[in-house]
């Protein structure tokens, strides 16, 4: 937590200091109010000629005091709001920028979902703590100390009573929290479970009905429902003690001070009686303040661990070392569209086993190189090394004769048009999605239209309301999987890159669209190098070079025909998808 506060600027520290001072002012003014009250009480009882006048003067002072306390509270509130908002503003920006510089391994390490929570919820958690902190963390101890100093030494009996009440209240609160808090975590899990079972019921509605399993699912739901209700009821019933208990203790304090006061006064000399009485009045109001302050402190200590967890989660992100370092090369290259793998091996940073071992091949301008193999054979990993989602553990990868590690990110990215397996759509128009990012040459609307046409997306785009300016919803939910994939391909085409990388892009398309699209693409990208990862033999059988991967090793390189003859793994894959007859016809 403290580490995050190091991000405070000098000016922000000044604001904090100002808040501390103002809180002192605020507390001192607020604690002076009871003095005026008892003075007014005394005046009302006395019978002088100028009582009304005196009360008026005291009253005006008290209102001024209250007003001063209000003003200081407003200023503190404003400063706290500013401070916490600007803190969260900066922190959020810092995290976002850091995450943007992450490579794949860092993103995977944290998981996207977790990174999102860290940037949003965790920051809010800390923001709340700061906002409340400036109100309460500063105020409670100052108030407690100030109030204690006002009553200290006035009476052993009363002090004991106040201390007793504080201890009693704190132990009740802490005991309750100890019982309730762990159950809160369980409740959260059970809520997730209720959600989970309901989600299952909704997503599997067809299966459930087909199996006539409605009753079965209702019972499953009822089990979690019952469990959740039980534990939540227990918690809330227990928690219901809190309010009445706090009231009782606070009332008992005032009440106790009066009763003890009555006996003390009864038994003391007349000279002491009056002092005792005024002490008693003071004690009741300050004793209350002491209790309230300790209660606040207790709550802060309950809150702090939660924020601490958030702070730790944020620090983990900010402290993460980024493995992929940017190179310096940003000029033009002599070669265009060539890729060379030289004895490339790869394993994840902390893993023992290699995902890829000793892969070597070259792809020249205009060639199509395809990668095939079973799940886990490393084909996706292999092509992910080119745009540097990861760096090769051994060996080197050259693009246009230069090691990918030597490129500036932007220069390397400008050479590549990468299309992932799962299409990514952003909120915005069709045009914005196709134009996305920045490329060597600015993409004009005609380029967008052409790319969409090549990607076989023209028909549905033009049928959308608004055509090229049609709105795409968050996550592309208003498009089908195939449509998203086609737009994602168009996005790569619009950049006119030297090298296309299709990471299992075509399997989301039906055979027919797949085949037409590749046909058109082939015509359009004559001068580009194509790297294709595929599952379907049909997609790749006409490639110039097919690389067959099995458990991270290259078990065959060649054309479809060559491989059918000499590569066992390839033949197996081919046979699982097409009949002998079809293979011959092809």
């Amino acid at each position: 937590m403290l580490k995050l506060f190091k991000n405070f600027t000098f000016k922000e520290w000044l604001i904090v200091i100002m808040c501390v001072l103002l809180t002192c002012v605020n507390v001192s003014l607020e604690l002076r109010i009871p003095d005026y009250m008892s003075e007014i009480t005394r005046l009302i009882q006395s019978t002088g000629d100028n009582v009304t006048h005196d009360i008026l003067i005291q009253g005006v002072h008290m209102v001024l005091c209250a007003f001063g306390s209000l003003i200081s509270a407003i200023i503190i509130g404003y400063a706290a709001a500013r401070l916490s908002s600007s803190f969260s503003l900066n922190l959020r920006e810092k995290i976002f920028n850091k995450v943007e510089s992450f490579g794949d391994s860092e993103v995977k390490k944290f998981s996207t979902a977790s990174l999102i929570t860290r940037t949003t919820n965790d920051v809010s958690q800390i923001e709340i703590l700061i906002a409340m902190g400036l109100h309460m963390v500063l105020r409670s101890p100052i108030m407690a100390i100030w109030a204690i100093s006002k009553i200290v030494g006035k009476s052993i009996e009363w002090s004991m009573l106040t201390a007793g009440c504080v201890v009693l209240l704190l132990s009740v609160v802490i005991a309750l929290m100890m019982i309730v808090l762990p159950r809160f975590k369980i409740i959260q899990k059970l809520i997730d479970k209720v959600n989970g079972v309901t989600r299952e019921n909704l997503t599997g509605i067809r299966v459930i009905r087909a199996f006539n399993a409605e009753e079965f699912q209702v019972n499953r739901f009822e089990n979690v429902n019952e469990e959740l209700t039980g534990i939540q009821m227990f918690n809330q019933r227990l928690f219901a003690i809190m309010g009445p208990m706090m009231n009782l203790v606070m009332h008992s304090l005032v009440f106790g001070i009066y009763i003890i006061g009555a006996y003390l006064i009864y038994n003391s000399t007349l000279a002491n009686k009056i002092t005792l009485f005024s002490n008693m009045v003071v004690f009741t109001s300050y004793g209350m303040q002491v209790i309230m302050s300790f209660l606040m402190l207790a709550f802060i200590f309950m809150m702090a661990p939660r924020s601490q967890i958030s702070a730790n989660r944020i620090n983990e992100v900010l402290d993460e070392d980024i493995l992929i370092k940017e190179g310096k090369f940003e000029g033009t290259t002599d070669e265009q569209g060539t890729i060379e793998f030289k004895n490339v091996s790869f394993k994840y940073p902390d893993a023992d086993e290699y995902i890829l071992e000793n892969i070597s091949f070259t792809a020249n301008k205009g060639e199509t190189v395809a990668f095939i193999g079973s799940t886990g054979s490393g084909k996706s990993t292999l092509i992910n090394l080119i745009p540097r989602f990861y760096d090769a553990t051994d060996g080197e990868i050259l693009v246009d004769g230069i090691n990918v590690k030597d490129y500036k990110f932007e220069t390397l990215n400008n050479k590549i048009g990468y299309v992932p397996q799962k299409a990514v759509m952003f909120t915005g128009t069709v045009e914005e999605n196709v134009k996305y990012g920045s490329s060597l040459k600015k993409i004009a609307i005609d380029d967008v239209k052409e790319a969409i046409k090549v990607a076989q997306a023209k028909e549905f785009v033009e049928n959308m309301e608004g055509g090229y300016h049609a709105h795409i919803a968050r996550g592309g939910t208003n498009l089908s999987g195939g449509q998203k994939q086609r737009l994602s391909i168009a996005r790569a085409i619009a950049r006119k890159p030297e090298i296309y990388i299709f990471d299992d892009t075509f399997s989301a398309l039906d055979y027919k669209t797949d085949s037409i699209l590749r046909n058109e693409l082939k015509k359009y990208t004559k001068n580009s190098t194509n790297l294709i990862v595929a599952q379907r033999i049909g997609t790749i059988m006409n490639a110039d070079k097919i690389i067959v991967l099995d458990e991270g090793k290259c078990v065959g390189i060649g054309t479809h025909k060559e491989l059918l003859k000499k590569c066992k793994v390839y033949k197996e894959i081919a046979l699982s998808q097409l009949s002998e007859e079809e293979l011959k016809n092809a």
Binding site: M62, S86, E93, V99, H135, N247, Y418, Y511, Q535
Partner: protein, 664 residues
């Protein structure tokens, strides 16, 4: 405890009173206990109005204990002077000896009339007979009496409010459970149409967030509202009964403050709404950028992402700050209003006392009432806001519970026994459309003999699941007839039809639980042997045996189980359903070639001896099918077997050939 200003965005229900009325109506099971609890809350509030009065009485009693009886003292002084040390005198039954009188006179002579302290010291040195006469008289019995009543009030008040809290926790939890159960039952009664046209997330949010809102507010706000209303009205009544001039003063003084406060509140509303909106946008943007991270990186989108994020983030700053600031004002403002009212009451009270219109006790009582009066108002305002969101939440929950259900099947009389069904299905001029005026299956007729295989083919989005929907009676056909063994499906219950079908779909639906639970599903009397037998047939038994707990292995989003294996589990589940008909989606997604082989073999076994409808993806299935239904844009455009359709040279032939065209 001050709360940060969140959750203050007002959600406006469409019909506030209607929803609240309905909500209260559905609480009728617990009506008595709720009324009982609310009465307890009110009583406990009344106690807190009464208690201050007793406390001020207690103060008065104690005050009596600090003032010496000056009247008696004056009398003593007068009599002693008059007597001039001649004989003992008797005042109020106490005898003052001559010696005491002499001592008293001596003491008086030492008093410095300018120094009031010396008077007080004089008291403590008085001869005991006189001291007994003039000493402050505190009535310990009275104090004890008041103290006991006060203690009882405090304790009873706390006990009552605890009982109230306990009851409301019980009621609100039971109510929430009932609502959740009702929703869960409702899901089973709704037609599939509903789920196809509503988002899963929306229904989920009703079952969790909305019910949670209702639950929380029922637990707290309702009793809170009653308590504070009682306090508010009670203190107003008490004030007017005590002294109407001071009551008006108190109300006017606070009113001034409240108007100010409400202006601030209504101003801050704007910022709350703005903040909520921008926060939503920002979170959405973050989600989008993080999920699309690889694209953002490889397309050099980082800089523009940072820029856009910056703009959103800065936009949030102002509304965030203002809403935090304004909501933080409430506490200090309430404090100030309290103090201001206090002073006003004191001044007006003092004036009244001075003119002899009222007593000191009234002022003391008012000092307390003014606090009791100002505190509840902001609480009431808060309760009203939460009542609003409760109304909005219950509106959504009730809306779901009111959705139109599937028509009842009580009039259905026929029943097909699945062990006797031969397996013939006839489509007779079937017309169907999802939307009333848009028929997509225009006029479909076909006769499928027992044991035949029907392949359904077509490009993605051609509506292949429509056939599943119709066969399973998930949707009703518009006109025409579908008959099973000559019996129209209109005359059979959905449950009966489902019994006759074994269905394996592409999206491998597995729930959280063990492998056994998932394969067994609702057929609880299946033995482990039967399950393993099915697994063996499907070819997944080897894999299960290799797992640490075998059939007891928990299927959470386990990474060690591939999607292919999941598909095999669902096939095993279907395999155990001994039904004459089969609906099968052949699609295998993200399955490596070897598992795919396993899956395909398992699927082939599934079709043995069953009349099958297969959403086909494999050419071998299509070629061997007895009947191929070619679908496009929702309609069945061609039917026939492979040879016939190829001869036709239509859409099917085109589709088939496209796979083998020379490309790339």
């Amino acid at each position: 405890m001050p709360r940060p200003g969140r959750n203050q965005v007002k959600e406006k229900p469409k019909n506030f009173f209607g929803s609240i009325k309905r909500l209260l109506g559905s609480l009728s099971t617990w009506r008595n206990i709720i009324i009982f609890s609310l009465i307890l809350a009110a009583i406990s509030a009344i106690f807190s109005i009464v208690a201050p009065k007793l406390l001020s009485k207690l103060t008065d009693e104690i005050t009596l204990g600090i003032k010496p009886d000056t009247e008696v003292l004056t009398e003593v002084l007068y009599k002693i002077k008059e007597n001039n040390l001649q004989e003992d005198i008797v005042i109020n039954g106490t005898t003052i000896t001559v010696a005491d009188q002499a001592e008293y006179m001596k003491l008086v002579s030492t008093v410095n009339p300018e120094d009031s302290n010396s008077y007080i010291e004089l008291f403590d040195q008085l001869p005991s007979s006189i001291y007994e006469l003039v000493k402050p008289k505190m009535n310990i019995d009275n104090i004890k009496h008041i103290a006991i009543v006060l203690a009882i009030l405090y304790i009873l008040g706390s006990v009552f409010s605890y009982i109230e809290g306990y009851n409301m926790a019980t009621v609100s939890n039971n109510f929430a459970r009932t609502l959740r159960t009702n929703i869960s039952y409702k899901i089973n009664k709704l037609p599939l149409k509903f789920f196809d046209s509503h988002e899963t997330g929306d229904i989920l949010s009703r079952i969790t967030n909305d019910i949670d809102t209702i639950h929380m507010n029922l637990n707290q706000s309702l009793a809170n509202l009653i308590t504070n209303l009682t306090l508010f009205i009670g203190s107003i009544i008490m004030m007017f009964v005590t002294n109407w001039i001071m009551a008006l003063t108190a109300i006017l003084a606070s009113l001034f403050g409240f108007i100010f406060m409400f202006i601030i509140l209504s101003k801050s509303q704007k910022y709350f709404e703005q903040k909520q909106k921008i926060l939503g946008d920002l979170n959405g943007y973050i989600e989008e950028m993080y999920s699309g991270h690889t694209i953002v990186r490889t397309y050099n989108g980082i800089n523009s992402a940072k820029k856009e994020f910056d703009e959103l983030n800065k936009g949030l700053y102002k509304s965030n700050m203002m809403s935090q600031f304004l909501s933080g004002l409430m506490g200090p403002f309430m404090g100030f209003i309290g103090n201001f009212g206090y002073v006003c009451v004191c001044i007006v009270g003092a004036l009244l006392v001075f003119n002899g219109h009222t007593s000191f006790g009234t002022i003391v009582a008012f000092m307390v009432y003014i606090r009791l009066f100002t505190n509840p108002l902001s609480q009431i305002a808060q309760s009203m806001t939460s009542m609003q969101s409760t109304a909005a939440a219950s509106e959504r929950v009730f809306e779901f519970l009111d959705e139109e259900e599937m028509e009842s099947e009580t009039n259905v009389t026929k029943h097909l026994d699945k062990s006797k069904v031969k397996g013939e299905i006839v489509f007779d001029h079937v017309k169907f459309g999802y939307v009333p005026n848009k028929t997509i299956i225009k006029d479909f007729s076909a006769k499928i003999k027992p044991g035949q295989k029907v392949a359904i083919v077509g490009p993605t989005g051609a509506g292949k699941t429509t056939m599943v929907n119709l066969l399973m009676k998930f949707y009703n056909i518009n006109s025409g007839n579908i008959t099973i063994d000559g019996v129209s499906t209109n005359e059979l219950t959905r449950e009966n039809i489902h019994e006759l079908f074994c269905m394996v779909l592409q999206d491998t639906w597995l729930f959280e639980g063990t492998i056994r639970d998932n394969i067994k599903f609702n057929r609880i009397d299946l033995s482990d042997d039967e399950i393993m037998e099915a697994c063996k047939t499907v070819g997944v038994s080897h894999f299960i045996n290799a797992l640490p707990n075998k059939l007891d292995y928990e299927l959470k989003d386990s990474e060690s189980i591939s999607s292919g294996q999941k598909q095999l589990f669902t096939i095993a589940r279907g395999m155990l359903e001994d039904a004459p008909f089969l609906i099968l989606d052949e699609a295998t997604s993200n399955v490596d070639t070897r598992t795919e082989e396993l899956v395909q073999k398992a699927m082939d076994k599934l079709t043995v001896g069953r009349t099958s409808f297969i959403i086909a993806h494999r050419l071998s299935t299509i070629k061997n099918a007895d009947l191929i239904l070619v679908m496009k844009d929702g309609n069945i455009i061609e039917t026939g077997n492979h040879k016939e359709l190829m001869k036709k040279n239509g859409f099917y032939a085109d589709l088939y050939n496209s796979q083998f065209e020379k490309t790339i």
